[in-house]
Symmetry: C2
Subunit: 244 residues, 2 copies
């Protein structure tokens, strides 16, 4: 499995993904699930993937290749005019990859499925984000639904529901995401460090550094170890149940 | 779905279950998923169920009936000498109900599956708990694995992993469970109030009152509304992430 979250804040967008991929429990490795394309000053687009690794790698390679080979450049992720059209392109490419896997040759019991979060900003439009289903259709982020999760989403959802605030700073949003990821990692072997992070500042049209948070990252370790104490303190503040 | 948790503390056992049952989202109702049998001074046994409602109701009815009809009384949940044998009885009865549903008649696409937590204490033994799978086999609670969850277990697991302590009081354990249930209820429509609670005091061999925590329960509302603030305060205490 996988865990990826995309948040929309008033100040911009935040993306975080884990990097564990596994087939069973005896075959696991580190793989990047976050990819960014940019045309500085004009557009920044970040994509995160969950699901069958062969499918998601093909998807990213096709998007990548079509952005480079001139004859295949139209439509390209670097040229389409709006984020909505980017989402349509990613959706149709994803559908193409999945249906290609189904046509002939050996059949697999799993479905080659994958889900994608794609977000960013193109000059002339607002920053936005889409959740793309294996069927190629998609939904857009809204005020009522200001974050998307793919993969092992359940463990880390309650803290997002409780603590997300559109006015929060990027620093606080990353802290919140690290707590959400840490809750998931502590409860499920199929999600693991390192984590990839991308913070996009609204109207900057520049892809900032995308740090990788490693297993021994001092900040991650500090949050992970103090969050247990902070939670126990928070519980202690609540009124006690009265047993007759 | 369902959410049920059984905890073993040094002071005894705590059981909590929700009461929502649904087939799709347009057909839902309240049903009891927690059942207790006792022989005061000798044994207290509590059982919680998750899964196909026809299966779990048959299971409970069979256990109930066989504890009452003299000719069918052996083996009975009221007479077996150890908790291990109780778990074997529940497991074999569950397997019997599920395989009965499969033999003839209309086929269903779902599997009539169910999982069960059964725990309690019988004079001469320690309090213990078992998690019983649809196949009828089971595992026992241990120090390393001191709680069982069935149903929608993921949302409410991180807080249990972080805050469970075998030395905690019953009052604190109930508070912890309410937070775990509230996190689940806020994130998933298939788990809902009211909640059933049973606290068993080690070596008491008496089934205490099993309160039902209703939707408008003042304590539940207080914990639910103050937990959001407590979490946000806990997050605020953590060090901030530094964005370059």
């Amino acid at each position: 499995m996988t865990y990826c979250v995309g948040l929309r804040l008033n100040k911009g967008l935040v993306f975080m993904s884990d990097t564990r991929t596994n087939a069973g429990v005896d075959n696991f490795s580190v793989t990047r699930k976050m990819f960014t394309w940019d045309v500085p000053g004009e557009r920044v687009i970040t994509l995160m993937t969950s699901g069958n690794l062969a499918t998601t790698q093909s998807l990213v390679s096709l998007l990548e290749e079509r952005s480079k080979i001139t004859t295949e450049r139209s439509p390209s992720i670097l040229e389409l005019p709006t984020m909505f059209q980017i989402a349509r392109l990613v959706g149709s490419t994803l559908r193409e990859v999945i249906s290609d896997s189904h046509t002939e040759g050996q059949q697999a019991s799993s479905k080659f499925k994958a889900s994608v979060i794609v977000g960013g900003q193109i000059k002339g439009g607002a920053p936005t984000m889409f959740l793309i289903y294996p069927e190629g259709n998609f939904i857009e982020i809204t005020e009522d639904n200001p974050f998307f999760q793919i993969g092992e989403a359940k463990y880390g959802k309650p803290i997002l529901v409780r603590a997300y605030d559109p006015d929060m700073s990027f620093e606080d949003a990353v802290k919140l995401l690290i707590v959400s990821f840490d809750s998931t990692i502590k409860a499920n072997l199929s999600v693991g460090l390192p984590l990839d992070l991308h913070v996009y500042f609204q109207d900057s049209f520049v892809a900032t550094a995308r740090p990788r948070i490693e297993v021994d990252d001092a900040y991650y370790q500090a949050v992970s170890s103090s969050w247990g104490d902070a939670l126990r303190n928070a519980l202690a503040q609540l009124p006690s149940y009265n047993i007759d």
